[in-house]
Amino acid sequence: MPTIQFRLNGASTAVDADPDQTLLDVLRGQLGVTSTHFGCGAGECGACYVMVGDRAMASCDMPMWSIADKDVVTVEGLGTVGAPHPLQRAFIAEQAMQCGYCVSGILISAAALLKRNPSPTEAEVRAALDRNLCRCGSHNRMVRAVLRAAAEMAAS
């Protein structure tokens, strides 16, 4: 099996993987990165989103060959309890979830949005999260959390 190199949460990573294997499989399997969740396996729900460059993308149908030499970020790479990403702080402050299964994908979509557009409008936040599904109905709290994080980032 070929070795595929990429950067995962800032660290050089090399895995021996079938080039057609999905990134989600490799993350959750070989690499033990479990924030990235399986939801549908068809790129329709957003639970498995990772950030590649400044784009949130489904990892469940992303073949390993396509991420060679790319920068991949998961929630593990956003921040830590000691040094949280503003989005992580904001999601706690807004209590922006019910079950939370979709949240890792939504944090990634939001982080990618804030990278591209540091001060989005509410409509822009909703549009950016439109490919992420939430079944519990926590959408409005999440939108508020993203706007709160953007405001905090602008102020700092």
Binding site: S104, R126, N140
Partner: protein, 710 residues
């Protein structure tokens, strides 16, 4: 004087599980372990229960450690459903903690030589005058909690509660934001292997032959398991399990299956099946009334999928003839009972432990996948087997919320006042949960070599809120009514409990027709409702929602407003909803304003979150959701075929909680669905002048209703 007040009663969960130590333990590391029988299903219950315990024990909420429910250690509280967890578990914990506190204070009083009434507790430190002090943890060796709870000690009065009744941050959220594994999907065990189960596309088809040859060649395959019509694979990684399953599917031969009803004529199907008929309630008019006309309306709702974002998942591990199961089931003891039947084992060697799954809105496939894991793990030589369903199977093999046809007849007098009311429901039963019958309710039990018949859903008794008939008895003061429930005795589409059971359909029907009658009278629909309600709490939520929404806003072209009200189960939370919609091409719900009364709101922000979530989920049901099928298979097996509301379609939601700290709390998770459904439907009429009586309210349905309208 020989009059005595009736003996105080223990909460139901305490009657079943009286031992104090089964609920509360002080740990060597200075914490308090609280062990409820109810489980976290995304509703924040664990936090609300921690608040109640912290308050009664006078410890910080951070000192509390909430223990996951397990048949090995937890009180048996049945199932986490029906918005009953705060009512049952919360009441029990409050009573238990009050007694634990009293027992510690008695011992502390002896030890410190200070009257118990002079002692204070602050984060578990017990102190009194003269700077004497001790703590729960210093005394825990002297205070046995191996006693049965008594009804004697009384919990704190409302005014002395400092945690319950206030918004606190949920205890589970930091893990979920910082990617610390908390879901069963992320649960790691040494030696974990992966399983997948082969299920038919054709509804009701049985596996009759299986060519395993191609699957055997898949690298990483550990075993192919076959037990009659049940078949699955185990592999050392997920991709291999998927590949082996794919190969196995190609070698499968299925029976023809069983026909499905006509999805475009659900009412025709529901009303043509053999049924069991129950008169739910009747009220006879005191005086003769002479109707001058009768309105007859039929309302339907489709089958609705749970459609949780995660597919169901479980882990099982055998050790000799003992098996340990990790599950996101709503009822660990109930699941264990069904597993024992299928495995022909006593319950003792089966341990069922809860681990969180994604949002749970009722009886989904959590229990089914647990049996799948147990059956596959038999072939894993003692290694733990994790089984995860596919999205496709989650959307086609998990139970659905039952379709309903509701026929309401209202007799009106010459002033269009209601003088008679008949409400009849045709629906499958709304519950086929495990652990309650002599036969198992689990999917694989109907597939194995000696299969059990598929359980036909039934309805809980009216005393427990009913099933298809839930919320069918009006809270309004109509002079006469007859409420009838027809439960289907056939079940071509598998149904079981989904949020509100029949409540959503019944509230939709009642509140839609009320709106229509108010319109006939030329009376404001809110004034009309208030005039027919005696219950102050009901009137208060309607008035509060109306005030908050500025009822009734001036009529604008293309905008509609509607109201809906219900008290969930007629005994639970009161909720009124006002919808503002925009109806040009498609219906867009712009804003929902709700007022809710759950009695004592333990965690007000948690209640708001539940009501917001219920309102948004109901909006999704009303505007978009409908399980699709042809005559042989479920075809809405992906998010494309079963769309739900997206971020840009979600309305603004504004919630007012009417706090009543002196009234026992009830749950909030299902309160909003019925009222929101009716409010949207009534707003559609307000906007477009057409009554849509078949859910979901899509463009096609609106056009059809317009064509039918005179």
């Amino acid at each position: 004087m020989s009059t005595s007040s009736p003996a105080p009663k223990l909460p139901v969960s305490l009657v079943a599980n009286p031992k104090l130590s089964s609920w509360v333990r002080f740990t060597d590391d200075g914490r308090v372990a609280i062990s409820p029988g109810k489980v976290e299903i995304g509703q924040g219950i664990v936090t609300a229960l921690a608040q109640i315990a912290a308050d009664e024990l006078d410890v910080e909420i951070g000192t509390i450690e909430m223990i996951r429910a397990s048949t090995a250690i937890s009180p048996n509280e049945g199932v986490t459903s029906g918005s009953l967890s705060v009512q049952q578990s919360g009441r029990a914990l409050r009573q238990v903690c009050a007694e634990v506190r009293q027992r510690f204070l008695a011992v502390a009083s002896e030890r410190l030589g200070v009257d118990a009434s002079q002692l204070d507790i602050d984060d578990g430190t017990i102190s009194g005058p003269g700077n004497v002090r001790t703590s729960y943890w210093e005394l825990m060796g002297e205070v046995s909690l191996d006693h049965d709870a008594t009804a004697g000690p009384t919990a704190k009065g409302v005014a002395r509660r400092t945690i319950a009744g206030h918004s606190v941050q949920r205890v589970d959220i930091p893990d979920k934001v910082f990617a610390r594994p908390r879901f069963i999907h992320d649960f790691a065990l040494p030696g974990l292997v992966h399983g997948r189960v082969l299920r038919p596309d054709l509804s009701g088809a049985r596996l009759i032959a299986l060519d395993e040859e191609a699957a055997r060649t898949v690298p990483g395959l550990l075993a192919i398991v076959r037990d009659g019509g049940f078949a699955g694979v185990i592999a050392d990684n997920e991709a291999a399990a998927e590949a082996a399953l794919k190969a196995l599917r190609k070698g499968a031969t299925w029976s023809a299956g069983e026909p499905l009803p006509d999805e475009d004529d659900l009412a025709g199907f529901l009303k043509s099946q053999p049924v069991e008929t129950t008169i739910i309630d009747t009220r006879m008019a005191g005086t003769a009334c002479n109707p001058t006309q009768t309105l007859r309306r039929q309302y339907t709702r489709p089958y609705i999928a749970h459609a949780s974002i995660a597919p169901s998942c479980a882990v099982a591990q055998w050790d000799g003839d003992r098996v340990h199961v990790w599950t996101h089931s709503q009822g660990v003891y109930l699941l264990r009972a069904d597993l024992a039947i299928v495995l022909a084992l006593p319950e003792d060697p089966i341990v069922v432990e809860h681990i969180e799954g994604a949002g749970c809105y009722g009886h989904n496939a959590a229990d089914d996948v647990a049996l799948d894991a147990v059956l596959l793990a038999k072939a894993a030589s003692g290694r733990p087997v994790r089984v995860q369903w596919s999205r496709h199977d989650e959307m086609s093999h998990a139970p659905f919320g039952a379709a309903m046809a509701v026929e309401v007849e209202a007799d009106l007098d010459a002033d269009h006042e209601i003088v008679g009311w008949r409400h009849a429901i045709w629906s499958n039963g709304h519950v086929a949960r495990p652990g309650r019958a002599a036969q198992p309710a689990l999917l694989a039990a109907s597939e194995i070599a000696n299969p059990y018949p598929r359980m036909i859903s039934t309805n809980p008794p009216a005393a427990n809120g009913g099933g298809g008939d839930r919320n069918s008895v009006p809270l309004y003061d109509f002079p006469a009514w007859t409420i009838t429930s027809h439960r289907l005795l056939t079940m071509p589409v598998r149904t079981s409990a989904l949020r509100t059971l029949g409540g959503q359909g019944n509230v939709f029907a009642i509140e839609s027709l009320l709106d229509e009658i108010a319109g006939l009278r030329g009376e404001d629909p809110i004034a009309f409702r208030l005039r027919h309600l005696r219950d102050e709490r009901a009137r208060d939520v309607i008035s509060a929602a109306a005030r908050r929404a500025g009822w009734k806003p001036q009529k604008q072209a293309g905008i509609g407003h509607g109201v809906g009200f219900a008290r969930y189960k007629n005994t639970g939370a009161y909720c009124a909803a006002i919808a503002e919609i925009e109806g040009t091409n498609d219906i867009r719900v712009k804003r929902l304003t709700l007022a809710v009364d759950v009695g004592e709101a333990i965690n007000p922000d948690g209640i708001t979150n539940q009501i917001e979530g219920g309102a948004i989920q109901a909006t999704s049901w009303v505007l978009k959701e409908r399980v699709r099928f042809d005559r042989s298979r479920i075809i809405s097996t992906s998010w494309t075929d079963y769309p739900i509301l997206t971020f840009s379609e979600v309305p603004a939601v504004d919630v007012e909680i009417i706090q009543r700290p002196e009234i026992e709390p009830v749950g909030a998770g299902e309160a909003a669905h019925g009222p929101v459904t009716a409010a949207i439907a009534n707003a559609v009429y307000d906007c477009l002048g057409v009554r849509v009586r078949d859910l979901p309210i899509t463009r096609d349905r609106i056009v059809a209703a317009m064509e039918r309208a005179p």
